[in-house]
Subunit: 342 residues, 2 copies
């Protein structure tokens, strides 16, 4: 390959991203900076957080500069190196971009990975990566699940949500998953072992009103939810808030229903947090990177024991980056969304 | 007195309570049930929580039954007793109603108080009661204030908020209070020692937009708020959420701006809880009743040392219960609102 294809942020999306917000450009394959190296990206993680990084808003990371490739966690192979710790052929994982080749400056967020024990390097973007470990640390550290407790998960058919449900079962919880559509709900029970699946959409495919959804949760969890793992926000969160058990723990992991919405709906039932003396805590996996080894080892063990399955939705080709990314928001995506670049 | 005047809930308010939601009735002065006693109420606490109890909605207490007196914490004197632990003339405090005389069943939530060291029995409804101790336990237990931290208080001129600010100063925090109107803001600094006062209203008396309020908070707290003591909700909460320090603690104590609003605005900036890995915890003083002795003693000591002032807004007469109660919502009230009945 003689050129480096790069999927660039051309302008800041307003609401749902459109194709014109991006451009696919070609540049020369970079050569290593002094002390740095260049990675040939094989797999890139596509995540809702990337939508946030496209906005010019205060967040936990700076916005993606216009004209830069869309920031992404990638797994790849060292292509050329001026760093004695990274030799050509080494597998690495790091915060790079949606592009064939990424320049890694000295001290960049990229580290070596050992792919010898895994069926695909993409596992480091799913079960043993940010997704699986978001489920692992979010549920265990903040949720503090105890046997017999009720765990309510939104976005339950997604990569994080399905792992949360399965870890919850391992911890002895009763698990209730919320997802959109009959097929996803069937898979919640059949594939991920949820005790109950609740469809937040009606037969016509429209989101149910808060009261309807709240009543369905109440039927499934008559004593309320001890733990809520929140990936969605909006009306789904409002329905969950009406069904908290006393001193419920809410893990605020994502608010995907609001990321593309310039007019956020807002949470109207926060008063239930007060009534139930609940705690809502924001969770970002970035804080837990030093414990990735510990969490990854446990996830790998559970996968080997057949206790957890983490599905991957692998889309092909940098040229398909836009439609692949949009699968996150259309409801088409199930399992960890990954773009295969090489 | 030969009759027991009672301020009854005649129907459930929709939005702002109107006079027709209540009625003032007369009944015979009750005689004690076997094992119970009857209290002559002297002072009754008027609190935003009472508005919530008027709704037929799930809460931490059952709704006030229609035709019953409006539930209230009162301080009064035992009038007649069939309980050997309570003698006529004993001062007591308990969860009774807006009425001249309350029947206390055996095991009811009423206990004796020692008024010998206080300037007025109403102190047990303010500094040494639920108000002062909401500030005390909410700020200290959930907020965990440390010297040098920034404490942001909404409803800061109110009874709870003004005590929170003063306790925060004792703990070495920098205190920023939000209140409505120039006069209240002047008192935040002059009377309650806040370092900065922010007016959430503009010169015309209208609530400022979230962006404006958020920018003013940012100017006062450039590094963000480590602790937010929330009494208000709505746009004020949204502006505060845009100004959280990393790992901020939000004490969700009240959402008074939403209590009378059938169409709740909702919190639109919850994503900042995620971005800042903040924690929002619901607080109800009812959980801390076993520690009232400890908290009351500390508050009494601080008052005696001149470190804390807790103002009372004492309105007169059961016949004025409606206009007195509405002072909570009109912005007229400053200090702990109390209705003097006897």
């Amino acid at each position: 390959m003689t050129a480096n294809r790069r999927f660039l942020l051309a302008r800041r999306p307003h609401g749902d991203p459109v194709p014109q917000d991006f451009s696919l450009a070609e540049a020369p394959v970079p050569t290593p900076q002094p002390g740095g190296f260049v990675v040939r990206n094989h797999f890139a993680s596509l995540d809702p957080a990337q939508r946030g990084w496209m906005d010019d808003a205060p967040s936990y990371m700076p916005p993606i500069p216009l004209g830069d490739p869309v920031r992404a966690t990638t797994v790849g192979v060292v292509h050329a190196s001026d760093n004695p710790d990274f030799a050509p052929g080494d597998w690495v994982m790091g915060l790079n971009g949606l592009e064939d080749y990424s320049q890694v400056a000295p001290g960049g967020f990229t580290s070596k990975i050992d792919i010898s024990g895994v069926d695909s390097p993409s596992r480091f973007l799913s079960a043993m990566g940010a997704v699986g470990l978001t489920a692992y640390f979010g549920l265990l550290d903040i949720g503090q699940p105890k046997p017999g407790e009720t765990l309510l998960v939104s976005g339950a058919a997604g990569a994080v949500g399905s792992a949360v449900g399965q870890i919850g079962k391992i911890m002895g919880c009763r698990t209730i998953g919320i997802a959109g559509g009959a097929d996803k709900c069937r898979r919640l029970v059949a594939d991920y072992g949820f005790d109950v699946a609740i469809d937040y959409k009606d037969a016509g495919g429209n989101a149910k009103p808060v009261d309807t959804l709240s009543a369905e949760i109440a039927e499934a969890a008559p004593d309320g939810a001890d733990i809520v793992f929140e990936n969605v926000g909006g009306a789904v969160l409002d329905a969950e808030l009406m069904n908290l058990a006393m001193r419920a723990r809410i893990i605020l992991c994502g608010l995907i229903s609001e990321y593309n919405s310039p007019e956020k709906l807002g949470a109207r039932n926060l008063w239930q947090v007060l009534v139930k003396r609940a705690t809502m805590t924001g969770f970002l996996i970035a804080d837990h990177v030093p414990r990735f080894g510990e969490g990854g080892a446990q996830m790998a063990q559970w996968m080997a024991q057949g206790k957890i399955r983490v599905d991957e939705d692998i889309q092909q080709g940098l040229e398909n980056a836009y439609p692949a990314f949009m699968r996150l928001f259309s409801g088409a995506n199930t399992g960890k969304l990954v773009l295969q670049i090489a």
